[in-house]
Symmetry: C2
Subunit: 198 residues, 2 copies
């Protein structure tokens, strides 16, 4: 069966974004970008609208020529790890859940107007590789509620946000996990991987 894996940057005080949606919880880490650019066995990404639009504003253009030294994304674009990640993200199937979007035009994207747990369960039974979710707190919460997530990956950044939004909320029951890995990086980021306890 195809697995669903979540991947999120979170702050040490447990926020995945600032109150205004900003991603100050991420501490740049080429080691992790490199690992993220080499995701064997994943052929599909699932998104909430907000995270999709953040990705849509950067990745389709990440391989464009530099807009010059004043371009804040320029340094990132020059990194080979980010270039590999851009190729991977643009080529991978992207499923975005949104009640408000009318269409999606980014390459290999597909729009679904609602998250139907039975449809997701059916996707897991289709032939194919695993699926990954970046960010997308609302989608992660709904899939957690329905027991559809197979692995949670948190990159805990060495930063206290002090305030912000929690990744998972509104889920009625707590869920016991098994720790799969706790891996510190030189940047101070720590990767924590968990699977729901069977």
């Amino acid at each position: 069966m195809r697995r669903i894996v979540t991947f999120n940057n979170v702050s040490a005080d447990g926020y995945f974004s600032a109150a205004d949606g900003g991603l100050q919880c991420a501490v740049p880490d080429d080691e992790i970008y490199k690992a993220a650019a080499e995701r064997p066995g994943i052929d599909t990404m699932l998104f909430g609208r907000r995270t999709y639009e953040m990705f849509e504003s950067f990745w389709p253009h990440a391989l464009d020529d530099s807009a010059g030294p004043a371009d804040p994304h320029d340094a990132r674009r020059r990194s080979p790890a980010v270039r590999n990640q851009a190729i991977w993200i643009n080529e991978t199937v992207k499923v975005v859940f949104s009640r408000t979007r009318k269409e999606v035009t980014w390459k290999n994207s597909r729009l679904l107007h609602e998250l139907n747990p039975e449809e997701i369960a059916a996707m897991k039974n289709q032939p194919g590789q695993d699926m990954i979710i970046f960010g997308s707190g609302s989608i992660v919460s709904q899939l957690t509620e329905h027991g559809l997530i197979d692995e949670y990956q948190f990159v805990v950044a060495p930063v206290l946000l002090g305030n912000g939004r929690s990744l998972i909320s509104g889920v009625a029951k707590s869920l016991r996990l098994d720790l799969l890995e706790a891996r510190p990086f030189a940047s101070g980021n720590v990767m924590l991987r968990y699977a729901p306890r069977k």
Copy 2:
């Protein structure tokens, strides 16, 4: 100078208590209780009222004779690690910040009606050993705001709460940390220790 260290159980989704204040984020761990019972170099605990009252309802009686097999705390009381921790907690100086409490009667306790950052800074300059804060989200947030915390210790439990309260909130500026340690335990708990970056 005396240091202030925080110690908290948090869930993998970043909550330090359920919405109702329950501590389902903690996964029992005798290895960690044992380490907690041997805290050399700490002679003072700082508390918010809510956490103080949770401690006050258990620890002063933790060495009493068992109330019989139906007593839910009985198994904990029999653990030597918990007995050592009880002795340590009862003997240590406890400072509780509360606007509403009129008095405190638990051994070695002292009541302060407000958290005055200058008073805390003065305490750090007094002779003595380090100070520790368990739980007490509001106190941790206020001391973080004033840059008075020297080390943050999080025990990340292998559980998703799905909903709850964040330890730190209402702090205006984010704070960059250095990772001191990332240590997994057999229980699946992971100890993450950080110091504010100088």
